[in-house]
Amino acid sequence: MVEFTLDGRKVDANEGELIVHAAARHGTFIPTLCHDDKLDPYGGCRMCVVDVEGAPRPLPACATRITEGMAVSTNGPITDFQRTLTEMLLSEHLSTSPGGRPNELLDLANELGAEAPFVLPDAKREEYDDRNQLMGYDPDACILCNRCVRYTQEVMQCSALSLEGRGGDARIVPTWGLSWLDTECELCGGCLSVCPTGAIYEKFEEGTKAPERSLEQVRTTCTFCGVGCQVDLNLDPQTKHIVKVTSKSEYLPNEGNLCVKGRFAFNFVHHPDRLTQPLVRGDDGELHPTTWEHAIETTATSLKKTIAEHGSQSVGFLASARLTNEENYLIQKLARTGVGTNSVHSCEST
């Protein structure tokens, strides 16, 4: 532990802790836009600059580590810089939240009373239209914080997005301007989840134009595989239908990361063809709703009959990819000791 001064108060911090984190623990919120705990400190947007005694100029709280005896001020004239930097970003922010995602820049602008003094004549960026059906991108909402690109490089270790060019020509674009479908992108949507202005957004047919903050969140476990990612299902408050899936960085084990299925493949929930109760095929050849007891009973009877007639080697087990390790263990136990066959497989094994 080290001691430092935060706005005149003596407080403690962990050795090597970033100013932005230590300040937050002591109740002082320092605004950031390019910072993300999942990523290496970047210090690009400069929104978090604070005064540090002895430093020749303000330092970024998101990239400066606390040392013993450091004196940090987060208020006073330094906050003027936050307003000016917000004005600068607004002066090329032509589009706000195209997909209804939260816009942290506009939040800051409201809080600080910042307005663009004028619109940069070259603020308009080349439009980007992607044939994929899951993610959209509006370059005019991008503030070049580079979080999305750093996410692809540092977390996903893939080549999906690039920070292209420099100066006024700089832009974020899928690698070489290709469709995401033609890059290494797996459409996990991680870039979208770290974007502070909603420039990258979920591109669904319906229900997503609603502001994300107006949605009801229900926390649950993703059902797609055994990892157990924690997700928030976002419901339309009127229809109670799921309109998007999000996650938070404090959720374990996934730390806010999701895969393409977890984030985007939820439309089965409300699909009319979805099975909602057990069905057993009757003598008429048609499927009929029934109880779980009857369904399991029917399965067991048929299995026993098959084994009696053709031997246990005539039976094989195919386990679903959606099962957990424990469930898969039970399946092989049932196959080997219950039925007496080694023909067990899971599609996860490939």
């Binding site: 690009g44 400069r46 420099r166 070489w176």
Partner: protein, 521 residues
């Protein structure tokens, strides 16, 4: 694109990430401009993600441009001397921000060929002695060179003489050289030595003169640094536009090698690809490591954590070129070469409306009038404005021609001597146009990483372009706020110092900025 040739070349290219820029340069020269196919092929060959190579290729101005392209410089001096007209009558020419040949303004390059032909207007100063014009290593040795390399003084004496001389970096920032050498020598781990030859500040041509006229002097000084600090690897990061210097250094290194003077050492040229910001020392390290030349956050400083994470001495070409004379004659001898209390001599790049534009070694502490009259052939007409030391150093009114070109001498003008690139503009060239062109340069060369530099410089460029037509998109109050944010919150020297010429111009020519006072038009 010749696929077969590309495949053969690719197979030869080294795989280390530090070779990325070099590999891209070779592909551009031998195959052609680098588009998505070549970029992806190289990424796959080097096992780097394609997106990261795309980021690097798009960062530098020249990688997507043919190696024999015609480039016209529109830096402020060239702009003043007819660059726009030259651009118009040269079909297919590309406009570039600075070619580093302001003494030939307006300058143009056709591939590696400089147009008009390179000439040197210089003098034979006491420390660097540009007049020597060494053609070979033997000539250099005959003039007394190599003695220090053969009889290396101990590090303590070198640091002592450097401190006694008060030699400070000539790249513009002015950090004391002796202190820097000492700091690197005290770090743990094998250090690197990097020569910053990425001269790119408009108006600055001094490092080019050193490399073209006295390449062996620079190489010897670099080897002195490497030997003294126990560095086995040294690099000279040279801007791509300096084709003559490239050939001279390349041949010079070969001569040192043949003479057995590189025993156990490696000294390599790293060729840039068109990015002013790569001259910022940490951006240069990023570039050498195969990434976009975006400045790192400091601290840590390169002397602590530099190239590949190791302690690194980074010195400017001119700074190194003074060191042999300092070690030979003593730090105090060098310090006494200055005038009016300033130490030593400097290489002054003098361009614009003067009789003989060129690079002259003259005492620190002289005035613009003394420099131009005694060395550069006098003023060719009435002086409209002066830039004392490169684009970011400030813009001075004619009254400043009698101010000593030192930090103290220029303090009353809120300017500094920067890289000692004195540019004299005639009365026919409006300071507002000069300012707009200067801000255009900074806006285009900003690496874009930090908000104040990326947006501030662009906004001010647009503002002054419109102000030429009497329109003011921002109020003076707002401009001052933005300038302060740029100066105080930018990551590196580019954004931190670009407000200075703006403030100067607004102070010395208030009438040109009157529309700002009246508010938004």
């Amino acid at each position: 694109m010749d696929v077969l040739r590309a495949t053969v070349l690719l197979a030869e290219l080294p795989l280390e990430r530090t070779r990325l820029l070099d590999n891209l340069g070779r592909i551009r020269r031998e195959i052609g401009p680098i588009g998505p196919e070549l970029s992806d092929a190289l990424a796959d060959h080097m096992n780097i993600r394609r997106g990261e190579v795309h980021e690097v290729v798009s960062f530098y101005s020249f990688l997507q441009v043919s190696a024999d392209a015609v480039r016209v410089c529109t830096g402020p001096v060239c702009d003043c001397f007819g660059a726009r007209e030259l651009l118009e009558r040269t079909p297919g020419a590309i406009e570039v921000a600075c070619l580093g040949h302001c003494d030939l303004a307006p300058a143009m390059t056709r591939g590696d060929e400089i147009v008009p032909q390179v000439t040197h207007s210089t003098n034979n100063g006491p420390a660097v002695g540009l007049g020597a014009r060494d053609e070979t290593l033997a000539e250099y040795a005959a003039r007394g060179g190599l003695d220090l390399l053969r009889n290396l003084p101990p590090l303590e004496r070198i640091v002592g003489e450097l401190k006694a001389s008060s030699l400070a970096g000539f790249g513009g920032a002015g950090f004391p050289t002796g202190v820097k050498w000492e700091a690197v020598s005290q770090e743990q781990g094998l250090p690197f030595v990097v020569v910053n030859a990425d001269e790119g500040e408009p108006g600055t041509i001094k490092d080019r003169y050193v490399m073209e006229l006295r390449p062996h002097l620079l190489i010897e000084a670099t080897l002195i640094a490497m030997r003294s600090l126990d560095a086995t690897e040294g690099y000279i990061y040279l801007r791509e536009e300096y084709a003559t210097a490239r050939q001279r250094l390349f041949r010079g290194i070969e001569e040192f090698q043949a003479a057995g003077l590189l025993e156990g050492l490696s000294l390599e040229l790293v060729i840039g690809a068109g990015a002013y910001i790569a001259g910022e020392e940490t951006a240069m390290l990023e570039s050498m490591e195969g990434r976009r030349a975006m400045p790192r956050l400091k601290p840590p400083f390169p002397s602590q954590v530099g190239y590949l994470g190791r302690p690194t001495l980074i010195n400017n070409v001119e700074t190194l070129a003074h060191i042999p004379a300092i070690l030979r004659n003593g730090g105090e001898w060098w310090a006494d070469l200055g005038m009016r209390g300033a130490s030593g001599t400097r290489l002054w790049s003098v361009t614009g409306a003067v009789g003989t534009p060129g690079c002259y070694e003259a005492p620190s502490g002289l005035t613009t009038r003394e420099l131009v009259d005694e060395y550069a052939g006098g003023f060719t007409g009435d002086v409209g404005s002066i830039v004392p030391g490169g684009a970011a150093s400030g813009i001075l009114p004619p009254a400043a021609i009698d101010a000593p070109l030192t930090r103290d001498g220029l303090r009353e003008y809120d300017a500094g001597p920067g890289s000692a690139a004195v540019q004299v503009f005639p009365t026919s060239y409006s300071p507002l146009r000069l300012l707009a062109e200067t801000m255009r340069f900074f806006a285009e060369e900003s690496c874009q990483k930090c908000t104040p530099c990326r947006i501030g410089n662009r906004a001010l460029h647009h503002l002054f372009e419109e102000l030429v037509h009497g329109k003011a998109a921002m109020t003076r109050e707002k401009v001052d706020e933005w300038l302060l944010a740029m100066e105080k919150t930018s990551i590196c020297g580019l954004g931190q110092s670009s407000p200075f010429p703006v403030r100067n111009a607004m102070e010395w020519w208030p009438e040109l900025f009157a529309p700002l006072e009246q508010g938004v038009a």
